[in-house]
């Protein structure tokens, strides 16, 4: 059963090689790989919910000498979200790229990106995490620059440089950890790490590198242009998954490995940056003229909510309240992943059909593309945090936790952020539902439209109404 850990990264990687060697059958191969990998992820989810954390020592070497893979509740949930989002986006991408040459270039890189995501979520070794981060960064950059337009290449280059800087800082931290503790295995380190300047500097460096990659304010400057200029399926995955992977690592390092070192001040710093991200990102989203930029700024804001959890989590002693708050964090992250991916896919359809993504000229979109507009509305509901979306559950936990730990200032930020989100979403919907006297009719392809609907529907209905298993699964967090 723990073999599934291997198949989770081996399948996409094999698919990448296959699509490279057989470009004419690439789309079919890629979709088959996507379905197979999603099935494996579902198997893993089932296994972890029954047996708890699964681990695998690659090569049979004990952890330390070799590299261990580990799947607990948190990583399994994220793996499942990754699989579903990539599957839906793959279906969309099959119809998005019209030229065979573009598709031949897209699929291998796309599957390599998925390999990187899965490998990162499964990894239990610090240096291995560095390599997966680099693989993730390079494939994301290569995908973001597909199409070769000036804006995309410029944004991709900046993304690459920022990513490299972040990776170097992460590696500096890893080398300090090895220098001091002689091991790179995460679970061994969790027991061995002691508070002191060594651990502090290592954690600070690794966190700084990861914050660059997760685009937390004020290190977010690279994200909006990169996500807005990339092709639609790429933007979906970048916003929903790639930045979340770096956030997952921050969470893992802070809560699992270096848990003993943390001080409320450090957590408060993250919280302040998160609060600034919420307010700044939402404000910029309100002011922007383009849909894709709006979605990108919204990502910056939503990541801020995730970081707001840190001061609250750390102020709670371990126990059911903290577990509930952690569950809220995870469900908020999952909801954002689904909703943002669906939103970008829907925006992609609008961009292709209308030729632009300017908000002011969206009139009549609801008449022309009703399913797509509905998907945007659903995604918007999840981003604002209205019930019954999973985001509502997450924000509820956040607000409850803030009151319980006496940090009620964050509540003001959450309310302001939600109001701003409502404002920018309703602005878009207001334009989209505007009536045009003679709307042009467009032909829509079902293959293009339903991925966005399914993703946003999951965010709003699936995670909201069926969110309870998330807490159960996290409870098996060893």
């Amino acid at each position: 059963m723990s073999d599934t850990l291997i198949w989770l990264f081996a399948l996409p990687l094999t698919g990448a090689v296959a699509t490279l060697l057989l470009p004419r059958q690439a789309t079919a191969l890629a979709n088959v790989t996507a379905v197979a990998t999603t099935a494996v992820a579902a198997t893993l989810l089932h296994a972890v919910s029954r047996q708890g954390t699964l681990s695998y020592e690659i090569g049979g070497w004990s952890a330390g000498l070799g590299i261990a893979l580990r799947a607990d509740g948190l990583s399994t949930l994220l793996l499942m979200m990754t699989a579903l989002v990539v599957l839906a986006s793959s279906v969309y991408a099959s119809a998005y790229f019209s030229k065979a040459a573009e598709r031949a270039r897209f699929w291998p890189l796309w599957l390599l990106l998925w390999t990187a995501l899965n490998a990162l979520l499964l990894s239990g070794d610090l240096f291995n995490l560095y390599v997966t981060l680099e693989l993730l960064g390079l494939s994301a950059v290569a995908l973001a620059s597909l199409g070769g337009k000036l804006a995309a290449v410029q944004a991709a280059l900046r993304y690459l440089l920022v990513g490299l800087l972040g990776s170097m800082m992460f590696l500096a931290g890893v080398s300090l950890v090895y220098a001091g503790y002689g091991t790179l295995d995460l679970s061994t380190l969790a027991h061995t790490v002691e508070a002191g300047p060594l651990a502090w500097t290592a954690l600070a460096l690794m966190t700084a590198g990861l914050l660059l990659k997760t685009a937390l304010f004020p290190l977010h400057f690279w994200l909006p242009p990169a996500h807005a200029s990339a092709p639609a399926p790429v933007s979906a995955v970048l916003s929903a998954l790639v930045v979340k992977a770096a956030f997952y690592l921050v969470l893992r390092l802070w809560l699992d490995v270096f848990a003993d070192l943390l001080t409320p001040a450090a957590a408060r710093l993250l919280g302040v940056m998160g609060a600034a991200a919420i307010l700044w990102g939402s404000w910029r989203a309100l002011r922007t003229e383009r849909l894709k930029l709006l979605a990108a700024y919204s990502t910056v804001a939503q990541l801020g909510y995730l970081f707001l959890f840190f001061p609250i989590l750390l102020a709670m002693p371990p126990g059911p309240a903290r577990d509930a708050a952690l569950g809220g964090l995870v469900i908020l992250a999952l909801t954002h992943g689904f909703a943002k991916a669906g939103l970008f896919l829907a925006i992609g359809i609008i961009q292709q059909r209308c030729g632009h993504d300017r908000i002011c000229e969206l009139d009549g979109t609801a008449q022309r593309l009703p399913a797509t507009t509905f998907a945007i509305a659903l995604g918007g509901v999840a981003l604002i945090g209205l019930p019954p979306s999973g985001a509502f559950l997450g924000k509820w936990q956040l607000i409850g936790g803030a009151f319980a730990t006496g940090q009620w200032l964050w509540v003001l930020v959450i309310i302001a952020g939600s109001l701003l989100a409502a404002a920018y979403i309703f602005r878009v919907l207001g334009h989209a539902f505007g009536n045009r006297a003679y709307p042009q009719s467009t032909v829509t392809v079902a293959r293009e439209e339903w991925p966005a609907l399914v993703l946003t529907g999951t965010a709003v209905i699936g995670l909201g109404l069926a969110g309870a298993p998330v807490w159960q699964l996290l409870g098996s967090n060893a």
């Binding site: 240096f127 390599v131 680099e134 960064g137 390079l138 950059v141 290569a142 620059s145 070769g148 337009k149 000036l150 290449v153 410029q154 991709a156 280059l157 690459l160 440089l161 490299l164 800087l165 170097m168 590696l171 500096a172 080398s175 300090l176 090895y178 220098a179």
Partner: protein, 95 residues
């Protein structure tokens, strides 16, 4: 605690700082790339210094393997960055 540890380790830290400064401040891509590569070299210095166990004693091979991997990853990233820059100039020449 060998002198070599101190010498090369601290040099590594200084080299990281030098590279970081250029990577952050310089306006031009090529210099920033060189800065990032120099940062990498500094981190490798730290790792290999840690691996060194003294004359006549076999060094710790794990950091050596890590640095080898790091060198290859760095050159891949540099190659992609340079290709992006070349494409960028081609697009800018068009405008």
């Amino acid at each position: 605690m060998l002198t070599a540890h101190w010498l090369y380790g601290i040099t590594g830290c200084l080299v990281v700082a030098l590279g970081l400064r250029t990577a952050l401040l310089h306006a031009l891509l090529l210099h920033r790339l060189i800065g990032i590569n120099v940062m990498g070299a500094g981190v490798f210095l730290m790792l290999i210094a840690v691996a060194y166990r003294g004359p006549g004693v076999a060094p710790d091979p794990v950091p050596h393997a890590l640095v080898l991997t790091g060198i290859v990853v760095a050159v891949s990233a540099t190659a992609l960055a340079l290709a992006l820059a070349r494409r960028l100039t081609a697009e800018q020449d068009d405008e």
